[in-house]
């Protein structure tokens, strides 16, 4: 169940808190991270019905600054940065020249000459080296790995706003989805963004590492009456999958294109040029050979990452993510299948340790919160 620890695991500024809360810790992307506190189902349901507080300080931050920083980010990412206003955020892909994923990122526009990419923990050094190489010679733009300057907390769930509001002078109701601002939380200067990886309303809070415990404690204290729970990576994974959000390394990587991952909406088709644009434009015109789809298992059993998918009796794809979802109470997942087998209601068979389970393609997202 647990993976062997390779080398010394890094600890987030909230590590002691996880220990004292009795979290089960696991190695993840080089970090010693809490996988669960009271249990994955309990924490998942808390986020869907009340709120949960996650420590996601393992995520990385890479900042690009300079007069040509916007042009540099335009070159290395798929989405159109020109659409971003200052204080706005966009989901994007850091692409290879083949149109595949170096990583998936959130691009924060801090100012007209300063952007920040929030990247996956296990990719921080790879991304930083890649970006530095790719922007060399692109004018006045420098990349800095600022990951150690931020602790990152995510408060997610329908009660998140009412819990956080008394702790900050920022008017959270006026903060729109995928926008951010700066302000104090529990008297600590933070960046607050209306983002998340759960499919619920929620906020992510970038805090100085030295003050992270203060912010963490204040939120849990303020959330006691509302039933806010600390939540770990286990619930984060089941929540993001229910909301059909991709996980790098599972659902896409350097071998899958942005279109195969069915993320055409994060490609700025009107942009003049970016890494992988030619491949993606060609694939858009011709149609990708395979596609990431959502599926529901009809038999008993959970289809997990790496299980083979069969269509018309032939091995034709692979499961990238799968779980039993605590809220929908179904076994769901995502898989790459041939593009002509990607339509909803297509019958799939998934090999579960020698037994073929029946499944069918369903539209994503599996879960969408009521507005």
């Amino acid at each position: 169940m647990s993976q062997p620890a390779a080398g010394v695991l890094k600890k987030t500024p909230l590590h002691a808190r996880h220990r004292s809360l009795g979290a089960r810790m696991v190695p993840f992307g080089g970090w010693d991270m809490p996988v669960e506190y009271s249990g994955i189902v309990d924490e998942h349901m808390a986020v869907r019905t009340r709120a949960g507080l996650f420590d996601v300080s393992h995520m990385g931050e890479i900042e690009l600054a300079g007069a040509d920083a916007v042009a540099a980010v335009q070159h290395i990412t798929s989405n159109d940065v020109a659409k971003l206003a200052v204080h706005q955020i966009q989901y994007s892909a850091l692409t290879t020249p083949q149109g595949t994923f170096v990583d998936d990122v959130l691009t924060y526009k801090l100012s007209d000459d300063h952007l920040m990419l929030v990247v996956n923990a296990s990719n921080i050094m790879k991304d930083f080296n890649w970006i530095t190489e790719q922007i060399a010679g692109l004018g006045d733009a420098v990349a800095v790995n600022t990951s150690s300057r931020y602790a990152l907390l995510a408060l997610q769930g329908p009660a998140s706003r009412e819990v956080l509001q008394p702790l900050t002078g920022v008017d959270l109701a006026s903060l729109k989805y995928y926008w951010f601002t700066t302000g104090e939380v529990a008297s600590v200067r933070c960046t607050i963004s209306r983002t998340g990886y759960t499919g619920e309303e929620g906020f992510e809070i970038f805090a100085p590492p030295g003050s992270a415990e203060r912010v963490w404690d204040a939120i849990l204290q303020a959330g006691k009456g509302a039933g806010v729970l600390p939540a770990g990576l286990g619930a984060r994974d089941t929540l993001r999958l229910e909301a059909s959000m991709r996980l790098y390394g599972n659902d896409m990587d350097e071998t899958t294109t942005v279109l195969e991952a069915d993320l055409g909406w994060i490609v700025g088709w009107k942009k003049a040029e970016f890494l992988g644009a030619d491949v993606l434009r060609k694939q858009k015109a011709e149609g990708p050979p395979r596609k990431l789809v959502g599926f529901e298992v009809l038999d008993r059993g959970i289809a997990r990452h790496g299980y083979d998918v069969y269509t018309d009796g032939i091995k034709s794809g692979v499961v990238t993510s799968g779980t039993q979802t605590p809220f929908l109470k179904k076994a769901i997942g995502m898989a790459y299948v041939p593009a002509d087998r990607a339509a909803p209601d297509t019958a799939l068979e998934i090999d579960l340790r020698g037994r073929r389970m029946q499944a069918r393609v369903v539209p994503m997202p599996f879960y969408k919160r009521a507005k």
Binding site: M1, I40, V41, G234, D237, G301, I302, Q324, P326, R353
Partner: protein, 123 residues
């Protein structure tokens, strides 16, 4: 916390002996490691198991684990109610028996741990 009337294995199964019959389940320690149990696959009645043979699988939200038989013998009962309600393994691990095995040779229960030895193992 581990009932003194049960025997235990290093693989975190428990055994409740009743003459030549052995009820088998997994321990509180095992269910905590697994987290929320969602599926249980158990063998058919009549299957012959060797000591240490895989007799089924248990799935939690986060992991799949195999179940190992602590004793050799024939499966004479399977807890169908538990496969319908596998979350009982979390709430009542030592009451959630999975199978009953008719032990083929009484001598083979000698290697099992008692509650105190098992408690030490899980410390």
């Amino acid at each position: 916390m581990y009932p003194p009337d049960l025997k235990y294995t290093k693989d975190h199964e428990w055994v409740r002996l009743d003459g030549a019959k052995a009820q088998v389940g997994i321990t509180d320690y095992a269910q905590k490691q697994l987290g929320d149990v969602v599926y249980l696959e158990l063998p058919e009645v009549g299957r012959t198991l060797g000591k240490g043979d895989v007799f089924g699988t248990i799935e939690s939200v986060k992991a799949v684990s195999e179940l190992y038989s602590p004793v050799a013998g024939e499966v004479i009962e399977v807890n169908g109610r538990l496969t319908e309600k596998p979350e009982s393994v979390n709430t009542d691990p030592h009451g959630s028996w999975m199978i009953v095995v008719r032990i083929s040779d009484a001598g083979q229960t000698s290697g099992l741990l008692d509650a105190a030895q098992y408690t030490d193992l899980t410390k």
